[in-house]
């Protein structure tokens, strides 16, 4: 049944019809742009690269969770509040209560996973849009975080986590760096600048790969693998594409959606823990607006807001665009408030492009 009215689609055009297209173009554009205006500002020197890599990795960690959840057809607006909540929990448990840091971290993860499951359960049970349910949790968790912090310490910032984490076995998994030996070797070869004076003289300016980046890469690979190669991935697409149709052929849509809410919460907790370990403190206002930034990364990465279509690699590229632009504006000395202007603009452009790509795929007119 070949139809002579169906135009032959060229290989190139077919290769272009993929969710990551917009994000790939964006990455190229952003790098070219900042190479031109900030190429000599140190942005592309080792220290500068580390700077925007870490920021991108932060975006990427929460974007991976948001991406799988959005493809499964739901949103989570409570991600930012959950980041603040998890951080404060770790700080209160370890600094105020004197529990070992590893116990505090595990407790925070358990709480976050439970909250994610609760989000999912409420969405499934009530049939309400996840937008409303998680919006409620955006406020509930933020309020609870500030209240907990003030009632236990009379402050909204709790310090001293770094001292508490000294010698802990789990903390280095979230703070710290790996491959320090390799970077020292690079420095000895002259590939990376070294400190020329002070207590760290002779050490490379970039001491290794921050754990935050390792987590980001790990989560991206895991997310992409699950989504494209496994049975669960097919269920995620199906749940978001048409939950009813999926249910009728035996896909456990409810379980898939709740699992994705939990995964999003897990990613938020990874973000929170890394930040607490890096700064050595937790603040009740951490993670503000992160839920929207995560969603924007995912949309730039080619996912459809309506679910059923998207890519983890795309979302990661969206996060990279974010990190490079945010830090690039800083390096080029531009007004940092312009970042928000950029955010809004690129969001609209991404959605327009995505709509066009969807039409190409489904042959809608």
């Amino acid at each position: 049944m070949s139809d002579e009215r169906v135009k032959q689609v060229s290989k190139l055009q077919r290769a272009m019809i993929r969710p990551e297209l917009g994000a790939i173009a964006g990455v190229v554009l952003v790098f070219v742009f900042f190479f031109m205006i900030a190429g000599d500002s140190g942005m592309f020197a080792p220290k500068g690269i580390q700077n925007w890599t870490v920021v991108s990795a932060q975006f990427a960690i929460i974007a991976v969770g948001a991406c799988l959840l959005m493809i499964a057809g739901e949103f989570d607006l409570s991600v930012g509040s959950m980041i603040g909540f998890a951080g404060i929990i770790i700080a209160i448990l370890s600094v105020q209560w004197g529990l070992p840091v590893w116990v505090s971290i595990i407790a925070a993860f358990i709480l976050c996973l439970a909250l994610g499951a609760l989000n999912g359960f409420l969405v499934i049970k009530t049939g309400l849009p996840s937008f409303i349910v998680t919006l409620a949790f955006l406020y509930i968790l933020r309020g609870l975080t500030i209240w907990l912090s003030i009632t236990t310490t009379q402050k909204t910032i709790i310090g001293g986590v770094k001292q508490a984490a000294e010698g802990d076995w789990l903390a280095p998994l979230f703070g710290g760096t790996i491959l320090t030996g390799l970077f020292q070797w690079f420095a000895d070869l002259g590939l990376i600048d070294t400190f020329s004076r002070g207590s760290r003289m002779g050490q490379p300016v970039v001491e290794g790969v921050p754990m935050l980046v390792v987590w980001a890469i790990g989560l991206i690979i895991f997310g992409q693998f699950v989504l494209t190669r496994t049975k669960l991935g097919n269920w995620i697409f199906a749940s978001g594409g048409d939950a009813e149709a999926a249910r009728y052929v035996g896909v456990p849509v409810r379980r898939v959606k709740i699992a994705m809410f939990m995964f999003t919460a897990f990613c938020a907790c990874v973000f929170a823990t890394s930040q607490v370990m890096e700064f050595g403190s937790a603040a009740a206002d951490r993670g503000l607006l992160k839920e929207f930034e995560a969603i924007i990364c995912v949309v730039i990465g080619g996912a459809l807001l309506t679910g059923g279509y998207g890519s983890v690699v795309g979302a990661a590229l969206g996060a990279l665009i974010f990190g490079v632009v945010q830090q690039g504006l800083f390096f080029s000395g531009a007004e940092s408030s312009l970042f928000r202007v950029f955010l809004g603009t690129i969001l609209i452009l991404a959605v327009i492009l995505n709509t066009y790509i969807r039409r190409m795929i489904t042959g809608e007119r």
Binding site: R229, T230, N234, E244, V249, G308, I361
Partner: protein
Amino acid sequence: MNTPLVQMKDIEKHFASVIALGGVSLDVYAGECHCLLGDNGAGKSTFIKTMAGVHKPTKGTITFEGQEMNFSRPRDAMDAGIATVYQHLAMIPLMSVTRNFWMGNEPTKKIGPISVMDFEKANAITMSEMKKMGINLREPNQAVGTLSGGERQTVAIARAVYFGAKLLILDEPTSALGVRQTANVLANVDRVRNQGIAVVFITHNVRHAMAVGDRFTVLNRGKTLGTAKRGEITPDELQNMMAGGEELATFEGSSGDAV
């Protein structure tokens, strides 16, 4: 052809104060295409959803292969060998043909300790099953959205047959299709029946029913109006039964079989 594959007896279904089905009976033999006709609101959809395990009957029994069944989920009916192709819920347009075909039944293989979807096998089987049904796919990764309505119904039928359906329920598969696509789908229904699969074909189009049906049951206002064998009933009689005995509105110049 001695005992029916499935026997639905005095099925009643109440939704709160509404009696959607008021005692409907129907049986289907293997290798038979049983057409279920009825106007909008006659209870066709409720009836087949009961058969497919979506609704639990308020009263009545379902016997499948001689055993009384008690489906609580669609999955139960599916495991027993009852597959349903819903008109609007057959396929997910944004997903590829392969992903749709295997949805809920993904083949897996092990890479070390990790279980992954076996796309090589999935793609190959999808292509060959589609070919059997007369659809030449450009590639198995093609999104279902690029297929026509008839092709989508065909993919769904092929999927049900491949996964071992003994009873195939088709919910108005032809009602939104053009002439040529309808013919293709009807040809595939015939092909499936000849493989010995029982088919329940829901439609409100008498001509489509007459084209493939072996027996015809007419539903009206939640009740069975009777079952007739092929050759025992004329299209006009069926048409009138569907209308519940009321005369269809005619207009000047109407030839009577405008529907």
